[in-house]
Amino acid sequence: MENNVLPLQGVRVVDFSWVWAGPYSAMLLAALGAEVIKVEGHKRTDLMRHIVVWPLPDAAPQEVPPNQGMAFNSVNMSKKSVTLDLTKLEGVQLAKQLAVMSDIVVDNLRPGSMVRLGLGYEELRQIRPDIIVVSSSSRGQKGPEKDYAGYATIHHAIGGGAYITGYADDAPCHSLGDTDIMNATTTAYAALAALYHRMQTGEGQFIDYSQCEGVSSFIGDLLLGYEMNSQIPERMGNAHPKYAPHNVYQCWGVDRWLALEVHSDEEFATLTGVIGKPELAEDPRFASMASRKKNESELDQVIEEWTRARDRDWMVNEFCQAGLAAAPSRDARDLYADPHLRARHAFVTVEHPEVGELELVGVPWKMSDCEMAVERAPLLGEHNDYVLRELLGLSQAEVADLRRNEVIM
């Protein structure tokens, strides 16, 4: 058999999720070859379809038309879209038919919502015993805080990530939407583990995912450290507990910075050569890892004196050519311009009927002999006919009735 088949070809996923964390988990499955059908009510569409910025609580969420939100278009690629009004019985029945024709059902509604709609795991498994249902929520499906609401920034705070992020002498700092993307990746992993198990045994299951806990699992080393020594890990900015220099240095220009990390005496000797101060390698203040760490701020000043007067990209190039780990602190424009990302096709170009050509970030892996199926996100209801007629087998007249009764758009 040919090896260039996408790994999840033949798997169908129904996606009842919205905003970022749920949709991106289903998008990852779509990129791996699954057929992913996103279900939205036309009166209750995914918020991200028409919002510009999210989630920055005090920024202005300006509205755009429903197919043009960049958050939506970035986390729903390669999917199909069907509109079904789930406040109507007919809408729920169709959603249920679709769900039981599928292998995996994904949602990130408040705990209990899918059950109230009649689309809960217990209900679905009566009809489709081997179904896999993944419910991703803020705090999980059970426990005293199950009904509490949250966003990425809040999960990052509760899970313990925010406390350790920021300057040592200033306030902690929460993430942006990246916490949702992270949780989505972990959710997709759990869904595939369930799928693997089903392929071996025929058994389906329910996955209850807590987005706060997702953050905590990424600091498991620090949590175990606290269990062992009762010392609360604090913020360290860009510093490392052992290595120095290990910081971000100001470069010539406005808000231009480079990151530089040195992990050994050899690397430090190389660095002193690049910045034209070889005597520093012999200087007792900086000669060993321990002394460099002890005199770190003095060392940082010496380095920054050099970097402040020079061009960022030139310096990074010099450092990297010499074999050091250095990088510019890139913004969006730098990322799009990065020849390395370009050479690796890290961005994908799609043609969007309403917006035109878009260059968006692709998926974070490459597989030999296998192009990832990253296509533009669907327009609202774009695949209504495909889903209702071809998959669910409705007649044209039945579809027309649904439209008249506003079950579909």
Binding site: M1, N3, L6, P7, P55, A59, S74, G140, K146, A149, G150, Y151, T153, I154, A157, G160, G161, Y163, I164, T165, P172, L176, M182, N183, T185, T186, Y189, L192, A193, Y196, H197, C212, E213, G220, D221, L224, G225, Y226, E227, M228, N229, P233, K242, V248, A259, L260, E261, A325, P328, S329, D331, L335, P339, H340, L341, R344, A346, V361, G362, W365
Partner: protein, 401 residues
Amino acid sequence: MAGDALSGIKVVELATMVSGPYCGKLLADMGADVIKVEPPEGDSSRQCGPFPKSGPCPEHSALFLYNNTSKRGVTLNLDKAEGLDVFKRLLRWADVLIDNHPPQCLGNLGLSWEAMHKLNPALVYTSITPYGRTGPRADVKGDELAIMHAAGLGNLLPTRSVDVSRAPVKMGGYAVGYHGGVTAALATLATLLGRMKTGRGRLIDISLQEVILALVRVNVAGTRYHGTRWSRVPDRPPAMGRMKTSDGYIVVGAIENHHFRALIELMGNPEWAAAAGWDSLAYRVHHLMDVAPMMDEWMLQQRKDDVHHKGAKMGIAMGPINSAKDVVTNKQYAARGYFVEVEHPEAGKHRYAGWPYKMSATPAQVRRPAPLLGQHNREVYCDSLGYSLEELERLQHLGAV
């Protein structure tokens, strides 16, 4: 029916620190048979803390203990020809190889992807590198700090900074490593599912820069196509988001109208909130700063946990900024059984962070503590690979094992 989701999958992990080991841990805690191959001096994470009060010891590193649960551990010296032969035998045995060394590392030992593929056509080779295996920067070094900034996320931190003249920062801990690990685990598992149909292995090329780039995918697109600002310094001083309480900080996300209405009620319907406009998002966007000092003053009187529970019960999205201590004593986590107790022969019994997914049929579990250095040499080399005890002794004598 309880069971292990991934039982039967055989994994060799040639990886250090966080990204590769976390990938291996995710698979092992789900039931895969993961053999961790360490150089004679051990995974370098054994040298990194946090350590117990008794001080540094390679069998006591929390970083190592957490990221290597459920694995068997062997030592192997790949610089010796005999060691390399043993490694090839492991590759013939395995379904998956996880490797987070620089792209040319195994190639220089004669184990390019092509060579491995010939050795075992079904092998899935998961390679995790700073910048990927191709492209002009393939051989450039990069670790947590460099990658966090190389890929864009660092440039947006600290969020809500007030001072653009201060440097952007990395995310705390080993965020790059953990993100890389879970992304690699996802791609690996997908490839194993695809392999059921084709029987053929693949090379999976994970670039940590692209892993972190994926996290800022929306910020990148928004900046280019919506003209939103890309900066760690907000357009206007923050009101909400992170707020200071009497005993720490809380993150408040009263975004929608009903959230803000509830927030006003939570604050005891202060006089300033009597104006009609507060029920409109547009009004709030332009006037929030007028009342920010009053909101800040009110919040400073509150304790973070009290205000969290009161506010959340009223439907406001909010959450305290928890320290490690707050996380390990969190009642919601306790109710879900998030922490699991693990007894390690040297480090003792401790509670470890568990998994954010509760799987009804195949719950993840720590099936054994992280291995001592070389703990399973005999079991793996003799029982799994079929070396005789004499052969193993010879290998040990040669310094290969």
